[in-house]
Amino acid sequence: MNKPRMEIKIGSMMMKNPVTVASGTFGYGPEYAELVDLNRLGAITVKGICPDEHVGNPTPRTFETRGGMLNAIGLPGPGAKGFLKKYIPFLKQFDTPVIVNIWGKAMEDYGRVVELLDDEPAVSAYEINLSCPNVKEGGSAFGTTLDMFSRTVELVRGKTQKPIIPKLAPNVPNIGSFAKAAEECGSDAVSIMNTMPAMAIDIETLKPQLANRFGGLSGPAIKPIAIKLVFDAFRACRIPIIGMGGIFEPEDAIEFMVAGATAVAVGTANFVDPGTLVRVIDGIETYLARKGHAAATEIVGMVKA
């Protein structure tokens, strides 16, 4: 039997398989390079970058919960120029497209960061973080009000020919409207989901477990929420979806694809088992072969519902 075709496309970006990493859980590439063969990945999605250097939140920044974890890292990073200088030479060594996750404190930052990055050919696509629950400056408002969402996406669209992928906030009653708005503003795909706004409190000290008070919930706990959002978005738009939220096993990734995701991202699982990425890629291929599919794209959105 022939091997199933694993390639998928996000706009003009070819991925050799549907599996990337969730922004912020894989650093900028080098961190896991000794443990994971970066050439195996469909794409490398790097941690959020804004135009300038950013300091992020004080510690504690993460907290383990039942079936998941909270984080409020707060998007520390080297800024666009720092990123280009520090990480692009490393990333160029691999035959794997690079998706840069971008964010801003104000709307114009989303344009500025693209302007700073766009000449670099090793930057393959932009994932637009419109939904980070961990920065005070407004990241989350961009993702939960349709008007600001659309304006931000349009702004980015005007600055680049590369694929743009807005990352949707999960805490809305109508994810479909955001997916459709993304499509209408010329997006090439959407990512679903960012972490869920959440909180934990130490009942002895009465202090929040995170220095930032709030954080985002990720991990297996949120998978059923993410599957529903992907399912809803798939019915509302015609652009590809990158699905994520609690993918720990190949079966989880396949479930996202069956729900409507063209590609998937492994996040928190990297911390638990860096072998997850390769296991998920191989597991998808095995499933496709067993089910007699010729291509990964065949199972996208095939849920009987």
Binding site: T25, L35, R61, F271
Partner: protein, 259 residues
């Protein structure tokens, strides 16, 4: 740095509440430098998912040993691990302790599992000097005989006076320091944060070098998630440094302590 499926070789009480876990890890074992740690995936932790970091007490071609005290969900879930059980390790991780500076006199300061974390360094150091070990009771001071056998002059302190000087490590260290040529000292420290800070303060006040191994909660352990950061001084302010990757060992002057 490797991810390795290891097997439990030995797991038993060590001393007091501390237990020893010896793991077959032929890939990781030979790579270990003193002061590094492993990131352990603990089976049977129920719905808690993250790994836990442990300092490497001993390492060889066969694998690694760690000493730990059950204090929470992860360490308690380790108790039922039996010889032969499979466990997943990432390691060795972190920078470890640097070489002893030329003309320096090494000093060890430790508390709790810090004694274990310093053992490989204590063995490797070309000179042996004084080792200040603190604990609540005699039971909490690990490996005293082992350090003595290596040639160290062990000076225990205990909160209850059940071994050595009564009081904190500083109760033994401070009077001793008075009589030293402080400039030539080089401290290797691992223990609770207040102990690290106390030693760091003295290092800066008296102008000696102190290598402090920090314990910050970790998620990834490899530098990717930015959970475990501390403020490291720079020429014009500070930057975040990751305990898992840039540390866990920092020189006392590098660290900007949080209030």
């Amino acid at each position: 740095m490797k991810q390795e499926k290891a097997a439990v070789l030995e797991h038993q009480n060590f001393q007091g509440e501390y237990r020893i876990l010896r793991l077959a890890a032929p890939e990781i074992g030979p790579q270990v430098r003193p002061g590094q740690f492993i990131h352990l995936q603990i089976p049977g932790m129920g719905d808690r998912i993250l790994r836990r970091p442990f300092s490497i007490y001993k390492a060889s071609g066969e694998g690694v040993s760690i000493l730990y005290k059950p204090v929470g969900r992860g360490t308690e879930a380790m108790i039922p691990l039996r010889p032969g059980a499979p466990v997943d390790l990432i390691g060795p991780l972190g920078n470890g302790y640097p070489e002893l500076g030329k003309g320096r006199t090494p000093v060890l300061v430790a508390g709790g599992y810090g004694n274990a974390a310093l053992f490989l360094k204590a063995k490797e150091l070309p000179l042996k000097g004084v080792a200040f070990f603190g604990g609540r009771t005699a039971q909490d001071i690990l490996c005293v005989e082992e350090f003595k056998a290596l040639g160290w002059d062990v000076r225990p302190t205990t909160d209850d006076g059940s071994l050595g000087t009564k009081g904190l490590v500083t109760a033994a260290f401070d009077p001793w320091l008075e009589q030293q040529d402080a400039n030539t000292l080089e401290l290797f420290v691992c223990g609770p944060n207040p102990m690290l800070k106390a030693m760091g303060d003295r290092a800066m006040a008296h102008g000696f070098t102190a290598w402090l191994s920090l314990d910050k909660n970790m998620a990834c352990g490899v530098g990717a998630c930015l959970t475990c950061v501390i403020r490291r001084k720079t020429a014009d302010g500070w930057e975040w440094a990751r305990c898992c990757k840039d540390g866990p060992v920092f020189e006392s002057r590098e660290i900007l302590w949080d209030e």
